[in-house]
Every structure is written in structure tokens, then in C-alpha cells.
Amino acid sequence: MNVLLNDMAEHEKLDQFIARIKAGEKIEADDWMPEDYRGTLIKLISMHGISEIMGALPEKEWVPKAPTLNRKLGIMAKVQDEMGHGQLLLRVAEDLLKPYNKKRDDLMQDLFTGDLKFHNVFHMESKSWGDAGLIGWLVDGAAIISQTNMLGASYGPYARALHRICAEEVFHAQHGEAIIMALAEGTEEQRKMVQDSIDYWWESLLLFFGPPSKNEVGSSKQDVTIKYRIRTSTNEELRQAFFSKYVKRILSLGYTIPDETLRFDKDTETWIYQQPDWGKLKIIARNEGPRSQQRLNLRRISYENNKWVREALAPKVI
């Protein structure tokens, strides 16, 4: 039956592919797909997968320092989930990489050389328990907004991975909210800890959704991801959704947002805000963020130290 597909001209295959995704069908790993679709998915999903793994690092720093046993168990469970999400997503990326004969080890090497990027927020410091809470509340909150937007993605394996991931993200967000709520209702020192975290993370949270267009940093994949029905909203629409869901919650706890211009314009039904420094996104993409090199080194050392385990478990040549 595959002969039928092989006999078709490229443009016919493309037409059939576009018709399938327009009809809401899911594309599977072994199906024919245009090269730019595969390339976009590889870039998106390998970055997402490796970001889950790198994202566990700022939180793992707080496992030994969590204030109670219950909080320690909670944050350990979250760190374990993030590594699990990384495993799922790397599998999806690896299947897409097969025609290029690239495997997991290649992805790790790409991370170490800087060819494979990880999300800007995971290059930042996590200086206090307030930061640990804020990561769960607002960083995971931002991630939930961007990930739920892709739950209906045209690529089946990614959509299925996201369904599993988003279900667990709900726990992550509530875990973060619980830490923030306890601090917000605590002593003056504890309350200040949260305000300091909001002030430190706000710009990174705006950068997280990516530039509104390719003018800010020179490139943007958002048009192609929307064209191929991988997601439905633009970077700016996702950032606006984040404001709509979280600004009132931050203010309701008596905190301020470090942007005096931030307001909702009723006429245009959009949030007006101070643009972040988009240049910082470029610095981070070069792995020159506040903690980029420390986190990469942690991963390099761990990958090297565990090499003997991978080798010992590799199947013997018969």
C-alpha cells in the first residue's frame, strides 16, 4: 500500500498532508511529512525536552533546603516529574531525528556545544525558597499556557506527550501556589521574599513567550508552527493570556509588579506593558545567562560520571 504514496509527486504528498492536518488528523512518526514540518518539530520538541531536564536543576537545588519534610517530598516529586517529561519528549524528538541518524547522545552533545538551547527561565538563579515557589507558580503557569495551546497539535506523538505532561503540570502549579501562599501569609520577611522573587523573575517571564515578531531577535518560528497547526496562538497572544490569568492573582496577594506602565486597555482589550529587554534573550541563547554555564557543567559532569552505567547496560555484541 505504501507504493501508492511512494508513486505520488512531492506536491501531491504535500497537498495530502495539508488536507490531513486541516481535517484534524494526527500525523505519526512514520508518516510522510514535509522537511520544514519535521525540522520545526525537532527544534521545538528537542528544546522542550531538554528544557524539562535543565529546568529540574534550579528546583533540585532546593530539595536539601526545603523548610519541612512535606515540602521536601513535594519538590522531589516535582523534580522527578520534570525528568520524566524530559524522557517523554526526548523520545518524541528521537523518532523525528531517525532520518538524520541522530540519537539521544547526539542531543546531549548538541546541548553541551550550545547548538541545542534550553528555555531562558532555566538560565536564571534560584536564590531563595521564594524563587522555588515562584518557579512552580508563575514559571510553570507560563509553561502551562504555552503547552495547553499545543494540546491539539497536528503531530500525534507530541500531542499525546503534552496530555500526560499538562495533567502533571496542574500539580506543579498548585505545589508552587502552596509555597507562595504560605510565604504571603507569613512574616514580613517571608512576604518580602515573594516580592523579591516577583521583581527578579518578571522580565524572564515576559521573555519566556518569545518575541512578538522576528524583528526583536532576528528569527521566530511562530508562523510556521501556526501554519502547520502545531499551536493556535501567537507568542503575543500567549503573553496576553498570561497577564489575564496571573496579574490579578499577584495583585490580590498585595504584591506589586515591577512595571508601572502595566494596565489593561479596555478599548483594545489588550494589556499594555513595558517591553522586556529582548537583547537578554540573545545573551541567554549564547549560554551566557546568570547560571547557564554552571547548569550545563552540572549536566556535563553527570553525563560523564554515569557513562559507565550506560556502557555496562548496553547489549553485548554476539
Partner: protein, 119 residues
């Protein structure tokens, strides 16, 4: 000295059953060096919260999936009422005429624990 494959671990597909009577459900794939480690990783990766009664791992190379072309044969035409209870729904009205309840799916499946005798 024994030599080992340079290739990375093998691909396994993971399935599980929630209870002894539930259908087996597909989860996702994982990389593992052998079946025993695949089972352990499946438990860690996919069963951290949900109830589970059994886990299956299958090497991906042993699974034959359908191609896009073959999947087209799966489309159904909605003209097969005679295969389902939907095509026999009118019996409910008929039985009512004879002052009897229809033995529908819900009623029949409720006999699992035994039927209470009665007139």
C-alpha cells in the same frame, strides 16, 4: 575482552492495565537496554500516580502498525444498525405492549452477580 554494541538502548512500547478486568492501555515509548530495565523504567516514568495492576513492555520492532493507506480501510459507513442494539431499539415499545421490560444491555450485564428469582 567482551565488546558491546555502540548503539544506544532499544525502543520499547509501554502498556498497562489499571485493574484485573480493565483493557490494556497504551502509554508511550522508552529507551532501555533490556526488558527487565524497561519494566522498571515504565513504572517510574508512567505509573507515578495512577493505579496499575500489570505492565507490559514490547520491543517496538515486534509491533506491526498500520500505514496511512491501510488506515483508510478503517473508516466505517454508518449503515450497520443491524449489528448493534440501536437497530433493535423498537423492541422496547413492543414489549411495553405485552407489559414486559426490555432486556437491554444494562439489564443483561446486571446479571453478573446472579439473578434474583421472582415471578
Amino acid at each position: 575482552m567482551e565488546t558491546r554494541q555502540e548503539t544506544y538502548f532499544e525502543e520499547f512500547e509501554v502498556f498497562s492495565r489499571k485493574t484485573q478486568t480493565s483493557p490494556v492501555q497504551y502509554h508511550f515509548s522508552l529507551l532501555a537496554p533490556n526488558e527487565d530495565i524497561a519494566i522498571m523504567m515504565a513504572q517510574e516514568n508512567f505509573m507515578r500516580r495512577e493505579a496499575v495492576d500489570d505492565i507490559w513492555v514490547v520491543k517496538r520492532q515486534n509491533i506491526r502498525k498500520m500505514t496511512v493507506e491501510e488506515k483508510k480501510t478503517l473508516q466505517r459507513i454508518d449503515n450497520k444498525d443491524y449489528r448493534t442494539t440501536k437497530g433493535y431499539g423498537y423492541l422496547k415499545k413492543k414489549w411495553r405492549k405485552y407489559e414486559q421490560e426490555m432486556l437491554d444491555e444494562k439489564e443483561i450485564m446486571s446479571w453478573a452477580g446472579g439473578v434474583k428469582n421472582g415471578e
